[in-house]
């Protein structure tokens, strides 16, 4: 979390932001509402004449199921995006575009609706846009490890059949499932893969031997306009929320670029260091400091930033576990128990290296 917040501090207007994390073994996502807590604190402060809620403090709830898994917690970058979305008042910036997009697709039917209904319909599009904004914010912040975690959490490798072929490929159109507040997972990952390509990340990861990467690749080949809603697919009557969302995607990306202006995606550093990091992990060693040869063949000590470490280690977690296990006595590659143990070990090494890097930095400052 500290590494993610440090990364956020690189953004203008977020240099002094901090977060408090809620994590108990009793609650899950649906039961945690940080924004409601902020509102309650504000109201209580009025009643008892106390300090206002700190202006630069964000609240994040981690579901109990997610607490002990480093890589899945890359999803926290989305929650940081929610904070940025609210702080920069993105909803107000996108509201007119959402209404205009609905007007375009519904024409007079939209104009004829009451203002309340028009507002409700625009809200749905804005809910969709917020989720996309936060996903893309997370990708801008931490790179493809966010997408890997997203694909893992929502079991999206199931979009591929056993031999790795995309089961929604060809003429089939990936449906938007009937969530009212969320676009479908394939749509969201498609938007992420487009950004990864635009950022230069795709060239760094496209050769990965993992189903995560295969999902990104398959969705990269689809057009956003090929996504439809489930109701639409079966001939039902539903407002064209997805079409409106597709229409305002350029505005979402423009706002994202404004909020994250100037941030270095760190693709160059990743391209230089992911192989040495993988070699350390393959040797069962925490890569806090790397001895690597420069172009003249001289050995230099190097340190990766947390973003590069997270992405390189997640890559190794996805494609290197068998190679690691082959160096250990009595390991059965087909044993889920054995594989899980070593995947957990890679996560522990990554946690350790993130702690080490922070400590090395603070000891030298």
């Amino acid at each position: 979390m500290a590494a993610l917040v440090d990364r956020l501090h690189e953004l203008k207007d977020f240099e002094s932001t901090d977060f408090t994390i809620f994590h108990t073994d009793s609650f899950d996502y649906a039961q945690i509402s940080p924004s409601a807590m902020e509102e309650a604190v504000t109201q209580l402060a009025r009643i008892v004449d106390a300090d206002q809620f700190p202006p630069n403090l964000g609240l994040i709830g981690i579901p109990n199921s997610q607490g002990n898994t480093l890589f899945l917690n890359c999803l926290l970058a989305h929650e940081i995006g929610e904070y940025a979305y609210a702080k920069r008042d993105m909803e107000a910036r996108l509201a007119a575009d959402a209404a205009a997009a609905l007007q375009k697709h519904l024409g007079r039917k939209f104009s004829a609706e009451s203002l309340i209904l028009q507002s409700r319909m625009a809200k749905t599009v804005l809910h969709y846009a917020k989720e996309i904004f936060c996903d893309l914010f997370a990708v801008r912040l931490i790179g493809p490890c966010y997408s890997f975690a997203y694909i893992e959490l929502f079991d999206l490798p199931n979009l591929l059949n056993k031999n790795g072929t995309f089961i929604l490929g060809g003429d089939a159109r990936p449906p938007i499932l009937s969530y009212h507040a969320y676009p479908s997972h394939p749509f969201r990952v498609k938007a992420q893969s487009d950004l990864l390509k635009a950022e230069g990340w795709w060239d760094q990861i496209k050769d990965m031997d993992s189903r995560q990467c295969a999902v990104l690749s398959a969705l990269l080949g689809l057009d956003l306009n090929s996504f439809i809603e489930a109701e639409e697919a079966v001939g039902g009557d539903r407002a064209p929320f997805v079409k409106a969302l597709v229409d305002i995607m350029p505005q979402v990306r423009t706002q994202l670029a404004n909020v994250t202006a100037g941030i270095d995606p760190r693709t160059h550093e990743y391209s230089m260091l992911w192989r040495p990091i993988a070699e350390y992990l393959r040797n069962g060693v925490v890569p806090s400091t790397l001895n690597i040869a420069d172009s003249a063949g001289t050995l230099q000590e190097a340190r990766a930033t947390p973003i590069t470490l997270l992405n390189a280690a997640y890559r190794f977690y996805l494609e290197g576990v068998e190679e690691l296990m082959s160096t250990i006595k009595d390991q059965d590659l087909s044993s889920a128990q054995n594989r899980t143990a070593w995947m957990k070990r890679i996560e522990n090494w990554t946690t350790k290296v993130l702690e080490d890097v922070a400590l090395l930095r603070s000891s030298e400052s």
Partner: protein, 232 residues
Amino acid sequence: MSVSTPPVDNEKYDFTHSVLSRETIDDRRKRPIADPKGLVITPLLLRTDPYDHDSIDLRLGSYFLIPQSPPAPFLDPTEENSSRLSHLKVHKPLGTYLVIPAHQTVLGATLEFIKLPHDVSGQILTKSSVARTFLLIETAPWVHPLYRGCLTLEIANVSNTPQVLYPGFHIGQLILIANDKPADETQPLSGAYVGPTEPESPALKHPKNVLREIGINRYRNPHSPKWESTGE
């Protein structure tokens, strides 16, 4: 009757055992990770010099396993989860502390992750300033060539007063000793303790398996009044 000691044949034995000096440690640390002679000690926080002429100081890490009474009345090698359930895991971030009551024990680990070369063994000793408070940090101090991981510390407060432990403090010193014959780095590593980053519960061996290896065909299970077969 007198027995004479045969003369040592110095030609036959290669006495290359020696403690690695600071210069040699530094040289070993600057090798590529794939070099079997390479040594890793990380993170090496250099604000205060961790080196002595013939040793390197190691710090206390921030994870601990505190012994607790397991569901069974004893640590039971016949129960798969007994070892895991006999400890409570505690994280004490840098800046906080852990109190060890008098005559109590706790498992800790070094802050530093190490990887030994194939031709070097190690020994970790309690720092003298720590030892004088009657804290012992290690009862299995030997580290084999090619070991990698944070070193588990079996910390015992053998004094009559509770003691405070701060993660990040220097607690032990690692002495590295060159061997006369290197270990074979091409052989697979033993999986039980490869790469720990925090203290881990012991991997208890089932008495049935150990006794069978030495030809014993029956054993007493603590949960059973009868003898049980080792399967021999």
